[in-house]
Amino acid sequence: MSRPVHRLPARALPASTPEARALLRDASRIVDGRASIEPTDRLAYARDLWPKGLIWARSGQTPSPPELIVWPESLEEVRELTLLAARLGVPLVPFGAGSGLCGGTVALHGGIVLDLKRMSRVVALDPDAPEVECEAGILGERLERELGRKGLSTGHLPSSLGCSTVGGWLATRGAGQCSGRYGKIEDMVASLTVVDGRGEIVVAARRPRPGWETPGLFLGSEGTLGTICRARLHLVSVPEARAFQAFAFSGVRAGLDALRAILRAGLRPALARLYDPVDSQLFARGYESGAVHKRGLLRDRFDEGVMLPLERLASRAAAAAAFGLNRAADLLRECLLLLVFEGDSALVELEAEEAARVCAAAGGEDRGAEPAQTWLQNRYAEPFRQSRIFDAGAFLDRLEVAGTWERAVEIYERVRDAVSPFALVGCRFDHARVEGCALEFTFVGSAGSLEQVERRYDDLWRSALAAARAAGATFSHHHGVGVARLNAFKSQVGDGLVLMRALKATFDPAGIMNPGKLGA
């Protein structure tokens, strides 16, 4: 079922086939004309934010597009479209906001893309439980705004909040920036309503309700078993108060020791993020620049503070310079730890005091509140500004892996070493829990030509994933699998692929749901 991603010149898409036009007619009857085979639409839905797709876009190429895009507005329309696709044996790919970083929505076998963004209603809000039931196509930012009016929040606040949907979070098992306190999306789900590949409506609820279908079977399934149409999510109260702290440590090990000690002390920070020396430098450039503060505009701050230094580094990191730059970075020592506590004011104050005590005992130097406050101000800006790196002929990507604490340093060192020949690499330790954390590596690289950039990008990923696996890390913490990490997924699951095939055969016997993904 799986095959490599085919690419085409973006300006010369093949014309729609008679079969596609017939499909358009059938689908249009179901969704009252909300369907398209126009080349511009097909091009727009051919890729997500997988950086390799961005590299291709810079060279005028696109992943092979779907034949048809459909915008359903109801569960029943999704069900009818699924039955149509199953009857005709046409692939069906659910699509949220297209902000995925792994090519999960690339229609490898063509077919129909099902854009769910018109299914964006808040169906029910129970402030006593507190829970919300919403449709999968709602953008995170809109959902949070509606919940905020009632003093509630999902607690799931990814940096992509403004350009990602609830369905996308669920399908990829995403994480918000405050997952250390509130959990990942899988921790927030009370139930899911899914139209599976047979066109059946499955309500997968957490216990103690009856039924064998649990949400965990569909969470992370990336559209391969069905279309997640609705979710019932647990909510939390909007925090009454926040405390911001930053501490500097003399190296990654010292910082990690402090981070672990904070969690063992019973503290529950909303954000506990340790930047390695390279990322600490980048972060410092972002908030210490005088020009940044004078302008005062969030967008300008981010451009001046983070993206411009990255662009400069990208060009400097070209070709063989990457390795030297990384070795030079070895001389850097200082690691910055950001902490944000939130909740009721009495508890926030107590937690911040205790955190300060723990960090001081671990050798941390107090850097005040401003770095963490700056993080809060900029936390949703990042995804919108990265294309400038690609405009500069370079690439930027992130690999987020996860491991237990005893492996964290080895994972960090191995992946960093593996990536060093190809790009400048920094890392932050995030989503910390009692047993371990995520390591989010940032790569900024460049090469002479677009072909060389692509080759370098592929070599980097192969090396990075192999190193992560060798050090005992998972290959993904919250970005999913898609096409970018399919081989890593297969390798990690091993014999367990039979389970994936069994689920596929159970829920999608015709094999129409996002075929070619997740090894099934």
Binding site: A129, T172, R173, G174, Y182, G183, K184, E186, R206, R207, P208, R209, W212, G216, L217, L219, G220, S221, E222, H234, R260, R264, A265, G266, D344, A346, L347, E351, E354, A402, G403, T404, W405, E406, H431, R433, V434, E435, G436, C437, G472, A473, F475, H477, H478, H479, G480, V481, F489, G494, D495, G496, V498, L499, R501, A502, L503, A505, T506, L518
Partner: protein, 337 residues
């Protein structure tokens, strides 16, 4: 049906060669005695090939009751699926760790029964979420292969395939070993007492405590006069103990009358079940002394002398996996064989 000794000897010889693991016979069956996850998978695959003779072959997991020393950095512990939870907890206590606050019956289970039974190895964690205590599972699949889930705090690598084993009664495969998450044991536990008028007040009180970021670990209620006596035990840390105490006492005053109410717990429970919050008031009102454990926003575990209406008994069989799904796993097993 009696089995001739020489038949059994022949069968033993056959399966020992095929599986490559030690064997022994007794009670009319041949026991395969694997010592590793891979050997369990191989032994199961061999058993799967035997047809009718499979009834006379048992894959013994007697070797899998070990408890390793906890990892102090990650607060995890590796255990065989046959290890007793009480012993695991005792080991963890030596490191100031705990599995979490389990219900009385759960404490006597093996790791396998806890993870594969209706408990599904779930525990309540700060924030009152339910979370699996299993960081990683080692499973011998029904298809004959091995499945080891990654030992990482969280992942986004496809569907949560571990949910085909947790709470599934071993239908898709046999749990052989696990790496369990532990929690740092809080420094203090404190019990508060009150008398409230209605069962609904107990529920609101408990919800209020949980929503205040306090960790309730155990609650006991029983009818007393026209109202209900309540004892709530919370776990906390020295740095926040005063705040937590003030909060709980404030909530108790708001819902009832804080005062000593004598013994509230009702002895060893006969019944344990999982109950949704919407049915908890009814259970408090109609049951006798009730223990409430594993208090999470999704549900609670109730313990009582008799079955509690609306509660799913935790020793009842798990929901069956659909036959076609199991058939696919069996088919894959035959391919392997």
């Amino acid at each position: 049906m009696a089995v001739a000794a020489h038949d059994l000897t022949q069968l033993e010889e056959r399966v020992r060669k095929a599986a490559g693991v030690p064997t022994r016979t007794g009670d009319g069956v041949v026991e395969l005695l694997p010592g590793s996850l891979r050997e369990v998978a191989r032994a199961q695959a061999v058993k799967g090939m035997l047809g009718q003779d499979a009834e006379r072959v048992v894959v013994s997991l007697v070797a899998f009751d070990r408890i390793e020393a906890p990892d102090p950095a990650a607060c995890t512990i590796r255990v065989g699926a046959g290890a007793n939870l009480g012993e695991v907890e005792a080991t963890l206590q030596g490191w100031a760790l705990t599995l979490g606050w389990l219900s009385p019956k759960a404490r006597s289970l093996t790791v396998r029964d806890w993870l594969e039974g209706r408990h599904a190895g779930l525990r309540a964690v700060p924030g009152n979420r339910l979370e699996s205590a299993a960081l990683s599972l080692g499973v011998a699949l029904r298809s004959g292969g091995l499945f080891v889930t990654p030992a990482a705090p969280r992942s986004s690598g496809g569907p949560m395939l571990e949910t085909l084993f947790l709470g599934r009664g071993g239908q898709a495969g046999t749990l052989v070993e696990a790496q369990l998450r532990a929690l740092p044991r809080p420094e203090l536990e404190e019990t508060f007492h009150a008398l409230v008028e209605r069962p609904e007040d107990v529920v609101l009180l408990l919800r209020g405590v949980a929503a205040s970021d306090v960790r309730p670990v155990e609650v006991h209620t029983r009818r007393k006069g026209r109202g209900f006596a309540v004892a709530i035990t919370v776990a906390t840390y020295a740095f926040r103990a005063r705040r937590d105490r003030a909060l709980v006492e404030g909530l108790l005053k708001g819902r009832g009358e804080p005062r000593a109410v004598g013994q509230v717990g009702g002895g060893a429970p006969e019944f344990e079940g999982e109950l949704g919050w919407d049915r908890l008031a009814g259970a408090i009102g109609s049951a006798g002394p009730l223990g409430i454990y594993r208090i999470a926003r999704e549900s609670v575990v109730v313990a009582a002398r008799a079955p509690v209406k609306g509660a799913v008994a935790l020793d009842s069989p798990p929901e069956p996996l659909p036959a076609p799904l199991l058939g696919i796993l069996d088919g894959a097993g035959q391919e392997v064989a």
